[in-house]
């Protein structure tokens, strides 16, 4: 597909500042004039004293119909509409598409801005302080990627918490809690690096945003937004979500294999702001369906799992099928090794990749069930510690991945 032209002066309500912009805001979920004005006000307030309003550009979808008069009176920020195509394609949370990223990155690059802030959450819920925490590290502290820290319920965003975050921690040595959050800030450096890649070089869920930054030696931070994780409008089926998210992760692992094999241990990244009060938590969750799906998978997917997993893991899974729900526990180390085994199978293309990812869903649901039972009604700090232990398990099992990656012999324990 040809790349869409990113900026269209004809459709912009205010032209881009003649001296260029310092920071670009993108709020894909704002679709009304009122919402746009409100967002503009919040941005002005957020960046007060940091960036002159005239040097801020707010990119919005065509048709949002902002009130140019009021914007002019307010002195900024400038508004620029992207052509319909990329804005329409801009992802709803959880539906990220690379074309949209490329479009907004190109817009930022052409404006000569220092960076770009994407706010995927409902801007009405994000405080000016939180917006500032996303922007300030980019503008003032030379960070290159600022990822969000959300108020999290214990069973939310488990693909991110249970696979992406611990895997990226183990692989790239950076502890990023929400590496594929919908709210983030990126620097011009990271943007330029991305734009040097051929179109289509980065596809799928943007796991690559963090890994590309780390592999290029760029600086990553996290900002407390004190908002919940943005809800998805139409959450996909579990198998679809697993396929999308883990497919993106596995591609990323293959892409950066020479880099992550040399990284050991992990470090925290700078955190901006402090976390807010804990969210209301739901009560106990019934995991019997998850366990049943896993057992069904065990019966039906033996051939696939046998091609991917070593005998010791298969034995563990067999034992798991026999456990009562109350005792159902999938050890972190086993889970980490199985994620790595599937990543290796994905790399070696031992079967159709869609089938492979589909076959991983029951295993993932087994981990979800185990985690859910274990966490139960634990306090937020205990949940975070639990997830930290999971990250440590992914780290401790990384030698397993490296050894299998380097010596992909099926004859292993």
């Amino acid at each position: 597909m040809a790349e869409p032209e990113t900026l269209s002066p004809e459709t912009g309500e205010r032209p881009a500042p003649s001296g260029g912009a310092e920071i670009v805001f993108v709020m894909p979920s704002v679709s009304t004039a009122g919402g746009l004005s409100d967002a503009a006000g919040r941005i002005r307030q957020a960046l007060d004293g940091l960036v002159p309003p005239a040097k801020i550009v707010l990119v919005h979808p065509e048709g949002a119909a902002p009130d140019p008069e009021s914007m002019r009176e307010a002195g900024g920020p400038a508004l620029l509409a992207l052509p319909v195509s990329p804005i329409d394609q801009f992802p709803a949370p959880g539906e990220n598409r690379p074309e949209a990223y490329r479009a907004i990155f190109q817009a930022t690059s052409r404006l000569g801005a220092r960076g770009c802030i994407v706010v995927g959450s409902d801007p009405a819920t994000v405080s000016p302080e939180a917006l500032r925490r996303l922007a300030q590290p980019i503008v003032e502290q030379s960070l290159d990627l600022v990822t969000p820290l959300y108020l999290r319920r214990r069973f939310e965003s488990l693909l991110q918490s249970g696979v992406i975050a611990p895997a990226l921690r183990a692989l790239y040595g950076k502890r990023i809690r929400f590496p594929i959050g919908s709210d983030f800030g990126v620097s011009a450096r990271l943007i330029e690096q991305h734009l040097q890649l051929p179109a289509g070089a980065r596809v799928g869920v943007p796991v690559w945003l963090a890994s590309d930054a780390v592999c290029a030696g760029l600086q990553v931070g996290q900002a407390h937004l004190n908002v919940p994780i943005p809800a998805q409008k139409d959450p996909p089926e579990a198998s679809t979500a697993v396929s999308r998210v883990l497919g993106a992760l596995f591609l990323d692992i293959d892409r950066h294999a020479t880099h992550w094999q040399k990284i050991r241990g992990s470090q925290s990244v700078p955190v901006f702001g402090t976390g807010g009060a804990a969210m209301d938590e739901p009560g106990p969750v019934d995991v019997s369906r998850l366990i049943e799906t896993f057992r069904l998978g065990y019966r039906n997917l033996q051939d696939v799992w046998s091609a991917v997993l070593p005998p010791a893991s298969l034995l563990e899974l067999k034992r798991l099928t026999a456990l009562a729900p109350a005792d159902f526990r999938l050890p972190d180390e086993l889970w980490a090794r199985m994620v790595y085994d599937f990543a290796l199978a994905h790399r070696l293309r031992i079967m159709n990749r869609d089938h492979l990812l589909g076959a991983m869903t029951p295993v993932y649901l087994a981990w979800v069930a185990s985690y859910t039972i274990e966490v139960g009604t634990a306090a937020p700090a205990a949940v975070e510690y639990r997830l930290d232990r999971l990250g440590a398990a992914f780290e401790s099992q990384k030698p397993y991945l490296v050894s299998r990656w380097r010596w992909p012999d099926r004859f292993n324990p």
Binding site: A392, E395, S403, W407, P408
Partner: protein, 1083 residues
Amino acid sequence: MIKPSGSATDPLWYKDAIIYELHVKAFYDSNNDGIGDFQGLVQKLDYLQDLGVTCLWILPFFPSPLRDDGYDIADYLDVHPNYGTLDDFQSFLRAAHDRNLQVVIELVVNHTSDQHPWFQSARQAPPGSPERDFYVWSDTDQKYRDARIIFTDTEKSNWTWDPVAKAYYWHRFFSHQPDLNYDNPFVVDEIVKAMHFWLDMGVDGLRLDAIPYLVERDGTNCENLPETHLLIKAIRAEMDRKHANRMILAEANQWPTDVRPYFGDGDECHMAFHFPVMPRIFMGLRLEDRVPIVDIMAQTPPIPDTCQWALFLRNHDELTLEMVTADERDYMYFAYSADPQMRLNLGIRRRLSPLLDHNRHRIELLNSLLLSLPGTPIMYYGDEIGMGDNIYLGDRNGVRTPMHWNADRNAGFSRATPGRLYSPVIMDPIYGYEAVNVEAQQSDPSSLLNWTRNMIALRKLFRVFGRGTLEFLHPTNRKVLAYVRRHENELVLCVANLSRFAQPVELDLSAYEGMLPVEMLGYVEFPTIGREPYRLTLGAYGFMWFEFHGESQSLATRTSLEMEMPLDVSRGWDGLFEGFQQERLEAALLPRFLATQRWFGSKTRRMVSARIEDWGPLAESGAVLTLIRVSFETGEPEDYVLPLAVRFSEAADSLLASSPSSVVSGVSDGERIGVLYDALGDDAASMTLLGCIESGCELPTREGRAKGVGGTVLAAIQGTAREALPIRRMGGEQSNTSVAFGERLILKLFRRIEAGVNPDCEINRVLTERAGFDHVPPFAGTIEYQRDGESTTLAMLQGLVASEGDGWTGALEELHRYYEAWVPRPFPAQTPDPREYVGIYLDAAATLGRRTAELHLALAAETGDPAFSPETLTPEYSARLSSEFHDRAARTLDYLKDNLPRLPDEAVEEAGLVLRRRRELLGRMQQLPPAMGGRRIRVHGDFHLGQVLRVRNDYVILDFEGEPSRSLTERRMKHSPLKDVAGMLRSFSYAAYAALFSYAARRPEAVDQLKPWARLWERSTGAEFLRAYRETIAPGLLLPERPADAEALLQAYLVDKAMYELRYEFDTRPNWVRIPLWGLSTL
């Protein structure tokens, strides 16, 4: 002008390349005419990409009569019809580039075929015409007589008579390959045209064949002439003028020093084959000795940064033995070519696998060397599956047979009638295509093909192999070859066992102390490197590659959320030391904290956990005292004491800014953010510890109690004033932490603790309270931890001594003045009077001698305490001492001998002198008189100038703790007081020479001049110290009665101490090894 680049974006791509050498005719036949072709090669590119090679070197494919396998070129600008067309070549080139494979082709510049139109014109053209001068003609075959004949088996002369031209023409190879005449500029133009023809098409590199022979001059051997280099520079300049990111690979079968000029200043060839290393790898393997390999690499000169050696095990030619000595050549023939049919010219025409008797381990070992020695590896087609050869095919055709793709007819190479094949396939039962082929090995996970693919992938992960420096290690076992490669932050150790049996090896890796070796194939962590020799055992023909990492992974893995997830202290210390918070502390936070503390002794051991064994509040201070047991992956656990406290808000920020290393973790009480930190940085906690001693109070803990005990002189030290004493933390300590209270008291917290009597406390207390010895800081109290009936000293309180610094610093300052004063003057011819030169420091040495003797007398005073009662120096003890000293000295001298090559050049001579005295030194240890009398008493044990303080022209003696790495029992043993005397005498020697080094750093020319001055200082201060010591100690019975016995014992202690120093310096500060060597050569 933007120059068209090849397919690679990195101009130095060839440094990281894995080159695969193949012949089009031998690879795959697409049109079933029995000869491989470019279309067939395209069909096999996926195989090559999957194998992991990055560059293809295609042997000559140009029109040719094929009398030298294509190296006899008849047209430089076309493709031999057997292999396809120019279009086919271009299709191949595109397909290779699409797979990120670079392509190198041949540019045979030395000669053409005699069928080349240039030669046909030349022989017809009149002498002196430009056409005639394309080649080298002579009326006689006596010119250039000094040039050797290369193809000795087939050629008798480098000249051949041409009946048409009626003249001799020059040829360094076969007679049908006349040499081009590069004195003719038209020849250069034509060759440059040919080069641009292929580079314009997109070819990435050119192998320049036989380049040492391009130019001939009478009176020379016609090899490597200056004119040849000018010519190559011109060709390179032409390449660079029009093209980017291309490469020239030189074929110059010469010694490395002769090949070196072909790199020029980076303006001739980018790469050159390293011919001599190849036969030496085979030789080293057969001899089971690394020396041939190390030796040739030592003879390999450095090359420009943009240049690279090309390494190979086998290629399309014979295993050439031109670059070995006659004896080596004979050995190689005996070793690798039992059948004379295997020999050709000066070489052996065999493939890799048959050369190694089809032994998989040997093949893997040699490939591991190929992939890890400095240079770009070149693999010959078929060797990745262990193909065999056919020595009966004539010339070198036996190693150029069709590739084995599968077990079908013609090995899957061609569907032609077998008789039409350009060469029969290998069919013997061991190497035949039915047994050895790609298809079978692809389906065999354990095949050589899969092994090779994995090894190539591994090599490509690390740029260090292509770009790194090389440093050989020198283990005593010569069957083991070990070397370190380093590039930027990559550090790799390669170890190879050249023997057919398992071999042990001890590697000196002390330069990498603290690093973690990870075996690269399986990513297996090995023990952390320490100062001791690193021991490995390798199986028969085994090899190991290690990547070195800077820190222990096990700790990093367990490190937790750090500051981003503060510990919850809202429920106080109880809440902190239970449940998952305790788990976090013990598994992650405390191990990480301890590993960064200066006082933590086992930094090179792999920590598993740091368990809080016991804890209790430090009275009202808000802090707690914790006792922590640190467990390691191997070995005994260690116990540490750590007071902890919490600060919030601005106080926490201030601590983070001023002393971040004291912070264990972030904390939160729900409202405020703060830090958990080492409470010895907290005034209230420090005052509590002091108060505990002053009042003799008890601090209950969960499992025991800590009890303060004041010394008898505490009240006197404190005086009557009751004002709050300012608190300051002392720096510079290694294993403990001290806090000073005003100018009166100092509290030393012993960080690593052990149940039992602490010798530092014990001796200080006895000297202060019983012996009345006032040249130690007065003992003022202690804190003892009691649990389960055992007592452990946690801290000692002493009177603070106002000093002018320690004795070591004072000696260095004095020596600096001394050298400054005497360096301009020649050392006096007559024995000088030391007092005239060394001056008042002799008085200081005498004072120290007196104090040392007084210390010993005090320690020997009868107190009724058996721990201090002097014991007779029995014959049994004397014999044991003699044996210990002798064994230690013998081990050290053996070590010195084995490691002579590692010594700095300037120390080798002194080492030789010491080794020459081996018998005498060892004899001295064995000659300790059995019944010499004297006493064993408690001594300082680690006595040197750093352990004394200078106090108004006098000395105070410190630190009776002994060596912390030893057990309390060992540290409390009794010795002859001469042990301390020897320690101090060696310390004078150290000071003299350490100051000399320091001085010489600025004035290196003064070293030799200053040595006699250093000796004068060392001897005169030592003599004065000894004189005063003997005078003072004389009334007692502590020393052996007969002066000769005392002298023998002292000398034995001195030699033993110097031996210890020698080993220590060897492993830690090789540049200082001269100090103990000087000592041992003069003792």
